[in-house]
């Protein structure tokens, strides 16, 4: 049962998340009936499943909301932003209730009552005056009906529906009732036709048909009975539960035909026993014994239905997504990492043998391991969109608190990132989005006088750049006031009054611990906690933060995030005696650099296909000693700012790289993001290209003025 409760919680969280985005869309477009129906349905589902799993309080609360929303659904009341706010609050409340024990503590329970009251008040206030009195009073927090079968999930019902001959008289069309039943779940019907008289004897206004219906559904028995609500007097209705699928899924066979028939009272147990022992087709025996063919047929259909419903249930169990704890995934990735390393060793050992069979085995294994690696990594990839959608609520709440009007636009939500990266991205993004709304966006009056639309836009975007994903938070607000940042920095003693700083250097000041330019400390920001934390968190998983800003037009904060943290395709290079690895996806080409070219030019630019390419000598960066080879290689990598060349001694080839953490001792080393074990057991360092790129730009900045001089 606890498993079911857990599943209910999971489902409810998903529903609530969807509800949130629907509500936000609805707020922008209150007339959208599809969305209104969707809100209504969500409440209905929550109510239903809550009742089923014993969350009576949540069920009752959702029931009140559903009733209150009835008028919105019918169109009598429009979906005001007040109602939207209340529904959002109710959504949050249900979330809290889900985490609380059942029955909930007094404070939560009384808050349910308060919210329900507010809801009813808001709806009745919004109702046009003339319908106010006619409107029925919703019945408070009445608990929804509990389900009869224990566990309450998928159940197969056997419904015996025998309309009385005069059923047509009250305007009922039995086919429509069956139609309604069929909409509840998986459905099979067997009509009993043997009572239909020939045309000359028929009274065409009487009903001669009865049914056995088999229905596999999650609907409670009350809901099934409700279908027949208006025909209870003009039909015989018998509803039985024949099995609960969760219990039955382990069972192999279903009841025999004889068992089914004797259960229904068509035959006695002795006859069933006799038939079971006979060696003929069972159906024939019963028909011979005078059992009507329709009875046998319907027993057969029952067997068939049960079999199919089990199959479908099982395939749903296996085909739909499952939840796996990320620990298990991490463990799997670790193992794959070990396998990749071992494979690399095997490949390098095999290179020295001349046994074609071993070589072939190794190559096949390599192919498999490659695929295994890709599949395993892709399991951990999640679109960032799910994270983005959470920010709609944040932006909405923040902007309404601050009297600003802000629209959140998301771009590239389908971009996939490693799940662990996404989890760690959340906090930094919250900071950045809050900052954008609080610091970046101006109040509507200021925007208006600046000739900008009153509705501001915050854009949350994701895109691939080489081996990285860039997540950006962009606003169309006032931009960063470099003068103010400067003054503040001088005030804090971070810089001296006569220091000349580039814009980039000024932006860097924002990331200094304890720095804030907000004039008033609000709940949202201005407490000086934030940007430094953002930077630390992002750098902790190998990312970096970049800032761009244009006064009067807005700012953009970009987080440059490595695609994955565990295994990459690498390009193995040599510097002196040591090996290094470039993330292959960032590499665009390799160019030869002859000693003569090196000696001629003192600056670090070369012309590559008509473009100026800045480059750095990795030998210098890593203080590699010894003589340089006559021909060096420039590895050209694509960075967010453009291509940069990195000079190495030799390019050795591609390498499956399992990135290992360097450990605390070496974390401060600039330009290296991890290490990997090579096939021969030695260690190669994985290059942190973003950092190296910055070094290259810095060096070039040093060189460029020299050139000008």
């Amino acid at each position: 049962m606890d498993n079911f409760k857990e599943a209910f919680r999971d489902e409810a969280y998903e529903l609530l998340n969807r509800l949130e985005s629907t509500l936000l869309e609805l707020e922008a477009n209150p007339k959208d009936t599809d969305q209104i129906m969707s809100v209504f349905r969500t409440m209905h589902t929550i109510k239903g499943s809550a009742g089923m799993f014993g969350f009576d309080h949540i069920g009752g609360f959702a029931h009140t909301l559903e009733t209150a929303l009835e008028d919105v659904k019918s169109g009598a009341v429009s979906f005001s932003s007040e109602l939207a706010g209340l529904t959002l609050a109710a959504r949050d409340h249900i979330r809290e209730l889900l985490e609380a024990p059942e029955p909930p503590p007094d404070d939560l329970a009384s808050y349910s009552a308060i919210l329900s009251e507010k809801f009813l008040a808001a709806v009745s206030a919004a109702r046009p005056a003339d319908t106010q009195q006619a409107a029925r009073k919703p019945s408070g927090t009445e608990a929804p009906a509990r389900v009869s079968p224990a566990g309450g999930a998928l159940v197969t019902y056997r419904i015996h529906f025998m309309p009385k001959p005069d059923i047509y008289l009250n305007g009922t069309n039995p086919v429509l009732l069956l139609q309604e039943l069929s909409e509840l779940g998986m459905y099979s019907a067997v009509p009993y036709l043997d009572q239909i008289p020939p045309l000359s004897e028929i009274d065409p206004e009487r009903c001669y048909i009865g049914w056995f219906v088999f229905l596999t559904t999650t609907s409670p028995v009350e809901q099934v009975r409700d279908v027949f609500m208006f025909v209870e007097d003009s039909a015989e209705i018998e509803i039985q539960v024949i099995e609960s699928l969760e219990d039955a899924v382990e069972e192999q066979g279903y009841k025999r035909i004889g068992q089914i028939l004797s259960e229904r009272g068509v035959i006695d147990a002795m006859m069933a026993e006799r038939a079971a022992r006979a060696q003929r087709r069972i159906g024939e025996i019963f028909v011979d014994e005078g059992v009507s063919e329709a009875d046998v047929q319907s027993a057969l259909t029952e067997q068939e239905h049960v079999k199919k419903s089990r199959e479908r249930f099982q395939s749903e169990l296996s085909s739909s997504s499952i939840r796996v704890s990320s620990d298990k995934l991490d463990h799997l990735v670790d193992l794959v990492g070990e396998l990749v390393t071992l494979q690399a060793r095997l490949s390098s050992t095999v290179k020295n043998t001349d046994e074609p069979e071993v070589v072939s085995i190794s190559e096949n294994l390599e192919r498999l391991v490659d695929e295994l690696r890709d599949r395993t990594m892709s399991v951990r990839m999640v679109p960032v969109g799910s994270t983005f959608s959470r920010f709609r609520r944040l932006v909405r709440d923040l902007s309404s608190d601050m009297g600003k009007r802000v629209d959140l636009v998301t771009e590239g939500g389908e971009t996939e990132l490693d799940k662990t990266v996404i989890e760690r991205l959340n906090d930094p993004l919250v900071h950045l989005v809050r900052n954008a709304v609080d610091h970046g966006i101006e109040v509507p009056s200021v925007r208006d006088s600046a000739g900008k639309p009153k509705m501001a836009t915050v854009t949350l975007g994701a895109r691939h750049v080489g081996a990285t994903v860039v997540i950006s938070v962009k606003d169309d607000g006032a931009g960063i006031n470099t003068q103010r940042v400067r003054e503040k920095a001088i005030e804090r003693g971070l810089i001296t009054g006569d220091e000349v700083l580039s814009d980039e250097a000024i932006y860097d000041l924002l990331f200094h611990p304890g720095f804030s330019t907000a004039q008033a400390v609000t709940e949202v920001s201005g407490r000086g906690v934030g940007m430094d934390v953002v930077k630390r968190q992002v750098e902790a998983f190998g990312g970096s933060v970049r800032v761009q800003s244009i006064p009067g037009q807005g700012s953009e904060f970009s987080l440059v995030i490595p695609l994955t943290l565990a295994i990459i395709d690498g390009l193995l290079v040599r510097l002196g005696e040591n090996h290094y690895v470039f993330p292959l996806s960032a590499v665009s080409e390799c160019i030869e650099l002859h000693v003569s070219a090196r000696q001629q030019r003192r600056d670090s630019f070369i012309s590559n296909r008509g473009e100026v390419l800045p480059y750095i000598h990795l030998r210098d960066v890593f203080n590699v000693e010894g003589d340089r080879p006559e021909f060096e290689q420039i590895v050209v990598v694509q960075l967010a700012d453009g291509p940069v060349g990195m000079v190495v001694d030799a390019v050795l080839g591609d390498h499956q790289t399992v990135i290992k953490d360097l450990g605390r001792m070496f974390r401060a080393i600039e330009g290296v993001s991890g290490a990997t074990i090579l096939g021969d057991g030695s260690v190669a360092l994985v290059l942190d290209l973003a950092r190296l790129g910055r070094i290259a730009i810095r060096e070039n900045a040093d060189h460029a003025p020299a050139q000008a001089r």
């Binding site: 047509y168 069309n173 039995p174 086919v175 429509l176 069956l178 139609q179 069929s182 099979s188 019907a189 067997v190 009509p191 036709l193 043997d194 239909i196 008289p197 020939p198 045309l199 000359s200 028929i202 065409p204 206004e205 009903c207 001669y208 048909i209 049914w211 219906v213 028909v287 011979d288 005078g290 009507s292 063919e293 259909t301």
Partner: protein, 116 residues
């Protein structure tokens, strides 16, 4: 052969008239063709009529044939009522459905005869 076109509304309000029309046709000819393609609305009384007409034909030793495309409403009602598993594609399939029903009917009938 006589042709009876089933009406647009093959529902309880109209079935009495249709029944009379079919009975009349059976009296005049040993082969009656029901055209179903006009049907737009059908309820259980309409479906009854088809089965009842088949049973009548079997008893008289007459032939009951069907013609025309099976309209959506009729197909849906037949499936919902469990009369068939899939929507019948055309008149021949519908005919087969009735034949199966009448066949069982005849078999059952025979057995009961034998016993008594």
């Amino acid at each position: 052969m006589r042709v009876v076109t089933l009406p647009v509304s093959c529902t309880v309000e109209y079935v009495a008239d249709v029944r009379n029309e079919i009975l009349e046709a059976f009296q005049q000819s040993s082969t009656v063709l029901l055209s179903v393609s006009q049907i737009e609305r059908v309820d259980l009384a309409g479906i009854h009529l088809l089965y009842s007409a088949k049973r009548e034909a079997v008893r008289r030793g007459h032939r009951l044939l069907l013609s025309g495309d099976v309209p959506e409403a009729l197909g849906a009602a037949l499936v919902t009522g469990g009369f068939c598993v899939q929507v019948p594609h055309g008149a021949p399939e519908l005919e087969a459905l009735l034949l199966e029903f009448a066949g069982k009917d005849a078999a059952q009938h025979d057995r009961i005869e034998q016993k008594t």
